[in-house]
């Protein structure tokens, strides 16, 4: 590192030698103090995720992975949601389904209304799937970021619920000397939220708006934000519809339509 960069001044070279002899302090000019705002902006930029990661998360392959995640997670939320909601009619008490006994650790009791919440989250997650297939990646990401965010929110709420349970137990123990442990330490909304958390993070990072100075790294194509997507779905269509699928002629019409017509 240059020595001058470490100090808070820079050397001024164009001062007459006679002046410098008389006033040697003129050789140094104290730098203007950096404003807090620009310092904040610089630090914020530094604390942000590396640009490379943002571009990486925008690769079409990541979109496909997210799509798979959205289907799996959506179904998981729906499953647990329905199971939780069914407890409202007393299935756990009536021992109708053994599954409730087997999976007691999830804490079905007290999650009846949360079941409906999980159903809503699951529906929003699955709502994104058709948008992915229609290449509306932005919209699809929007639904997924909300649903995974809600999942994380409810996980946090239930972590507080677990802490409150433990506190209640402690209060009971201190006042009555009766050991009455909490029902469960593993509420399934917490587990689902933990699975949804990386997805939420990836989606929010994926949509950070970068200034133009942050150039796109080579080979980091973000074609899926264009109308004509180039991913496995398009590859599939291209394979079946011909190489010109998605390409347009000079008049702006899709080439493959014309080619298919010619075959007919």
């Amino acid at each position: 590192m240059n020595e001058n960069e470490t100090n808070n001044y820079k050397i001024i070279k164009d001062i007459p030698a006679s002046e410098l002899e008389a006033h040697p302090e003129l050789t140094h000019e104290i730098k203007k103090k950096e404003s807090r705002l620009s310092k904040y902006m610089r630090e914020r930029r530094r604390s942000q995720i590396p640009v490379r990661h943002i571009w990486l998360l925008n690769l079409p392959i990541v979109t496909n992975i997210i799509l798979v995640f959205s289907i799996i997670l959506g179904l998981l939320f729906l499953y647990f949601g329905v199971m939780g909601a069914l407890t409202i009619v007393g299935f756990t008490e009536q021992n109708v389904w053994v599954i409730y006994d087997v999976m007691w650790i999830f804490g079905w009791e007290g999650n009846a209304i949360t079941g409906f919440v999980l159903i809503i989250i699951g529906v929003i997650m699955l709502w994104s799937v058709p948008h992915y297939f229609q290449n509306n990646v932005q919209k699809a990401d929007s639904y997924l970021v909300i649903s995974s965010g809600l999942g994380v929110l409810f996980a946090i709420i239930y972590i507080f619920v677990i802490l409150a349970d433990l506190l209640s137990w402690l209060v009971d123990f201190l006042t009555t000397n009766v050991v009455n442990p909490p029902d469960t330490y593993f509420y399934y909304p917490v587990l689902l939220g933990l699975i949804a958390a990386p997805l939420f993070r990836a989606l929010s990072v994926r949509h950070i708006v970068l200034p133009p100075s942050e150039k796109q790294p080579e080979d980091y194509s973000t074609q899926h934000f264009k109308k004509e997507m180039k991913n496995w779905r398009d590859s599939y269509k291209r394979k079946h519809l011909g190489d010109n699928y998605g390409r347009r002629n000079k008049k702006g019409k899709h080439r493959h339509h014309r080619r298919r017509k010619r075959w007919e």
């Binding site: 705002l37 925008n58 639904y143 409150a164 929010s204 708006v209």
Partner: protein
Amino acid sequence: MARIALIGNPNVGKSVIFNELTGLNQTIANFPGCTVEKKEGELSHEDQIIEVIDLPGIYSLSTHSIDEQISREYIINDDPDLVVVVLDASNLERNLYLTVQLMELNTHLLIVLNMMDLAQGKGINIDANRLSKNLGIPVIETIASKGIGLDELKGKICECLTSPNLAKPLVWNKKTGENIEKILKSISPYTSRIEKKYPLEWVATSLLEEDDYVWELIENIGVSREELGPKITKLIEENFDGDAIVPLVDARYEIVNSYMTDVQQKYTGRRWALSDMLDEVLTNRFLGIPIFLTIMWGMFQLTFTVGAPLVGLIELGFDKLGVLVYYLSNLLDGAGDGFNPISDFIVGAVINGVGSVLSFLPFIVILFIAMAILEDTGYLSRVAYLMDKPMSRIGLQGQSIIPMLLGFGCNVPAIMATRAIRNDKDRKTTILVNSFMPCSARLPVYIFIAGAIFPTFAGLVTLGLYILGILVGILFSWIFRKTLFRGEKSDLIIELQPFTRPTPKSVFIKMWNQTKEFLKKASTIILVSLMIIYLLNQAGIMTYLGRGVSLLFWWMKTSDGSPIGWEYGAALLSGLVAKEVVIGTLGTLVGSSLELLGPAAGLGFLVFIALYVPCIATLAVIKQETKSWKWMLFSLMFTIIVAYVFSAIFYFIVHAIVSV
């Protein structure tokens, strides 16, 4: 002492800057219309003391609502030494419109470009130096919510006060400029009189806009409207086809565009920012309302479950305190008979009464924190936008949604927030139905009663009561708009600011302000009320009063088939003072036998509490805002009748279900 005024569009962070400058804790939120009256504070910087005025947000000086009038009248009549114009950097062009109008007034201006981080998040780069050069006004960049740039702002304020500078003169387009000249000629006989009080060019443009307020101002200094009015009307007819407002707006935007030259660079590209993505879903017509209900449910779940053990701890503390009081009393009494009216009074009225109210503090604090987070993120304005469409379909006004949502906190500021509503009929409707909005004072009552009678479904019952309050509010605003306040409905104009991450400081300030109010209420009005109730009970008077009220509920039977006791009537009566007193009264008079009320009577009782008039303070603010005793008394009687009817409906439905 020098005076500065903070002005700007709604929701640009004026109050945040005001708090940072003055060290005060004025309530702030990420939705427009949070400040509806001017607030004053003092800024001390480098041995200077400056008076700071925070004004309600306005989009332009051509005002329509009460809060907007407050801002305009202050700027025009009080003539502050410096006007600090706070602009939202992420929405600069629209914000500069007001700046242009302020430049017409020839006031000393200082521009604050706030929310620079949001602008960056939206992919906008702003060259503040260039903007300052274009306007001829100093410009300071800030991120007030994070306390960035405020030291520079303080320094600049002092600098501007010692060496004030005026903005560059406005350059109007040819047509507008010519017409302003013509008006200036028309008013030339009065020039000397007007010039002493108001800038001539501003008066001329305002007369072109046919602004009644400006007519009023100049009539007060002896300008004859009879003489000048027809001339100006003729000029508008000839040059603007009878309406100069729109051409003037266009002319101002032309000026704004000239100021924007080389100032802003956008780089959003094809990718959506996170805030846009959230808006896409949260305002979705199918998913928006389920998501809102989900978030509300989460809020209540958090409040109940996390608050419960803390409430238990506080109750335990008050129990021990009661025991201690009796112990000390016995100690002092020596070999007495054990009966000590003073210790009975302290334990009965203060510890059991106020203690039962205060023990709900954790619930209230958690609810306040959750509400503050929701407000600060900007979600409430999305809810208002979301609700506008279904509500306007049944003929209701969109403007009243924000005050209705604010009613979740307290009905008093919520009713004051109706000042932002332009249409008087809409405003009165919103004021009258606001009493149905479930304020935070009702929450402990719901938890106290629902927790005792419906221990398994306490959260659900509470959420149901909240929804009931909202639905009844919507129902009656529709009825009022069809009957008492018939007329055109106004549209909702709301700014959906980007979502922001709430800062712990802002959330804490909001929570602390509201908690402080609760504690103040508990130590004054609630304490005094409970003392009076205790004494009236000892004298036997409360029995008569309570019996009188409970007789009105002759049809309401407890689980063992007997009519509800006089204690419940007394509790409802005491609830007129403040809703929390209901808990204190029940705690003192009923104690732990509340569950004997049974589900039908319990729900009927809860529904009555949910819908009848919130408190005396609400009635007082209704009187203040409507300037009429008539509407205050109407609100009192109307809410009691509605509460009675709905209470009966719910009682008989649940009674029928339980009987089956």
